[in-house]
Amino acid sequence: MGFLDWLEELPLSQWVAQSEVGYPMMLSIHSIGMAAVVGLLLMFDLRVLGLARGVPVSFFRKVMPFAWAGFFLNLVSGVLLFNSTAHRLVDNWPFLSKMVCILAAGAVTWLLWRAIGSVEEAGGGASADAQTAIVASPVVKALALASIILWLAAITFGRLIAYVMDYMILNAK
């Protein structure tokens, strides 16, 4: 457990765990990042499943940097939150389930974009016909549905982390 001790003793971990603002600040950033990355990816999945058909798939390429920004916020705030409570998270089953869901959701999203990208390259994907053909594929729709389920599961497990932890940092003081 030497590595986890080292993580928890980092000055930044101590600040997150012990200062009055550290923990709430990280949780706030984590929620804001979640809204951006999960929110935008859910909208893309819903579009693939047939909602807002007038929005071209290519539009979502233009908003993806905002989803990445949200992901980056959550990676940073998530690592800092983990470091501050490493011992209690490492065997916390909702936390581990959340990590598995995020990895799987990331892989599914990557496959989804790859499937769309290959159709776009094959037949001049900018046209409306090509766009319709892309999202009509059952494989692509199944990937979008899997993505929705995995992100919602990640949120659910994320919510449950605090309930399974021995006690919340804020209440410990």
Binding site: E20, V21, Y23, P24, L27, S28, S31, I32, M34, A35, A36, V38, G39, L40, L41, L42, M43, L46, L51, A52, R53, G54, V55, P56, S58, F59, K62, V63, F66, W151, L152, I155, T156, G158, R159, L160, Y163, M168, L170, N171, K173
Partner: protein
């Protein structure tokens, strides 16, 4: 005095009693609240980013088709929010983060109403490649700022519950 009566009524309501008695209701409500916020913010991001000039070849009318998703997310959060409030009305009413959050939700709602009545129809008729007028852009920027601030102060509600003197 009127406020006290209202808070007491919410506290004594069937919803308040049942929520205090069965802990899983609050936990489940929070899961729904978080999913609802993703739907609301996701739809608002797509709509507001387009209004702010991202992906101008996409007709504004097309992104406005996501408004029902935003409304669904808002309805989920209003319903679960009422459940949380009835759990401990006096606690929420005294919580500064809750008061700021509710004020921001109100302003964001008025902003959305103003957009619906003043800009929506005109923008829905705009051809692809059309830039939104400055009033609609301000509206969109304000909308994103307000909704993300709502998340921030929503999160801080718990911080104020944990230590009431936190930011005094």
């Amino acid at each position: 005095m009127i406020m006290h009566g209202f808070l007491q009524m919410a506290h004594d309501s069937w919803l308040g009693q049942v929520t205090r008695e069965y802990a899983p209701i609050f936990t489940t409500g929070l899961v729904i609240h978080f999913i609802g916020l993703c739907l609301l913010l996701g739809a608002m991001l797509v709509i507001d980013l387009r209004l702010l000039g991202v992906g101008k070849q996409t007709p504004i009318k097309a992104v406005l088709a996501l408004l029902p998703v935003a409304i669904t997310g808002f309805a989920m959060n209003l319903a679960t929010g009422i459940v949380f409030f009835c759990f401990d009305p006096f606690g929420y009413w005294q919580n500064p983060a809750f008061r700021i959050k509710m004020t921001l939700v109100l302003i964001a709602g008025l902003n959305a109403l103003w957009f619906t009545f003043a800009e929506h129809r005109r923008l829905a008729a705009a051809p692809p490649g059309h830039s939104a007028p400055i009033a609609a852009r301000i509206c969109a920027g304000l909308s994103l700022f307000l909704w993300f601030s709502v998340i921030l102060f929503g999160r801080l509600i718990v911080a104020f519950q944990g230590s009431p003197d936190l930011f005094k």
